[in-house]
Amino acid sequence: MARSASSRQSAISSRQSAVKKAEKTPLSLDRLIHERLRLGIVSALAVNDRLTFNELKRLLQTTDGNLSVHARKLEEAAYIACDKTFESRMPRTEYRLTATGRRAFDKYLAHMEAIIAAAKQ
């Protein structure tokens, strides 16, 4: 019991530290989103309420393992949420963008646009 409480506490604190790490000042680059596949996941979810694991895999042309690893990182930072259900006895994993993830994505877009605007001046 004590062990499960402590592991839950450590999971929460690791999630909080991941969120803090990701949500830095507006001008610092969000490394969590900056990685290509994670950026793809967040971009795809920004225009869809939710997408299944298979839809994301096909869209981003990646492997099960690769997608799992990167989706897990985004999930740990609370950028995306994952819902697991069963459809005709087959497991179905769906992802959606959270409010934190939406804010981080908007901030990242603003950052990229600011870099381009600065280069034009």
Binding site: A44, E55, M112, A118
Partner: protein, 197 residues
């Protein structure tokens, strides 16, 4: 140091990332479960119907045989779409499918209303132009949320519809066979080969 060895600037990186985001968002919003093989079967039934119905006549029988074919085509198309979506693990209730349906259905509803009006006013012989034009409009507008080939198919249907309107009534069945038959089969085969079924 050669030009190729110069690392790309921060600006180029940012532009590249924005391009990637735009492309991903555009692809993610596409509805990809458009049934290629379903289109082929729909085309085959249309060819059979065109042969059976003959040139357009202002009779309930001629309209009825084409409406029956439309019912069969809807069942074939929907069945193929569900199978393709299931195989690809694509949702038919997600935002891309909803956007596609919202753009695809209204021109078909307009077609249904106009069919009633044409039949009532004894203009049934002009229905081929009306059906091709409005089905083309449905495919073109739905295709805006799907793979690039779909709106091209819609425009071809619309062009055939216009030609059917300006051509003699007796050629109506040829336009029906060319559009709902040959065009549907041709594009269906390309979609099936390029987009997984």
């Amino acid at each position: 140091m050669s030009a190729a060895a110069v690392p790309p600037s921060l600006h180029d990186h940012a532009a590249d990332h924005l391009r990637f985001i735009r492309d991903t968002m555009a692809r993610a919003a596409d509805f990809t479960a458009v049934p290629g093989w379903g289109g082929v079967w729909m085309g085959i039934t249309a060819l059979v119907t065109a042969a059976a119905a003959g040139p357009p006549r202002d009779t309930p029988a001629w309209v009825g045989i084409w409406l029956a074919d439309a019912g069969v085509a809807v069942a074939l198309g929907l069945g193929a779409m569900v199978r393709k979506a299931r195989r690809a693990g694509v949702s038919l209730t997600g935002a891309p499918a909803r956007r596609f349906a919202l753009a695809f259905v209204p021109p078909l509803m307009a077609g249904a209303v106009l069919t009633g009006v044409f039949v009532r006013d004894h203009l049934s012989t002009r229905l081929p132009g009306c059906w091709l034009l409005l089905y083309g409009a449905a495919v073109t507008s739905g295709g805006a949320f799907s793979v690039r080939l779909v709106p091209v198919m819609g425009i071809c249907f619309m062009a055939l519809g216009v030609l059917a309107f300006v051509s003699p009534v007796s050629t109506g069945s040829l336009f029906m066979a060319a559009g709902f038959g040959a065009l549907q089969i041709g594009f269906g085969l390309i979609i099936a080969r390029k987009y997984g079924g």
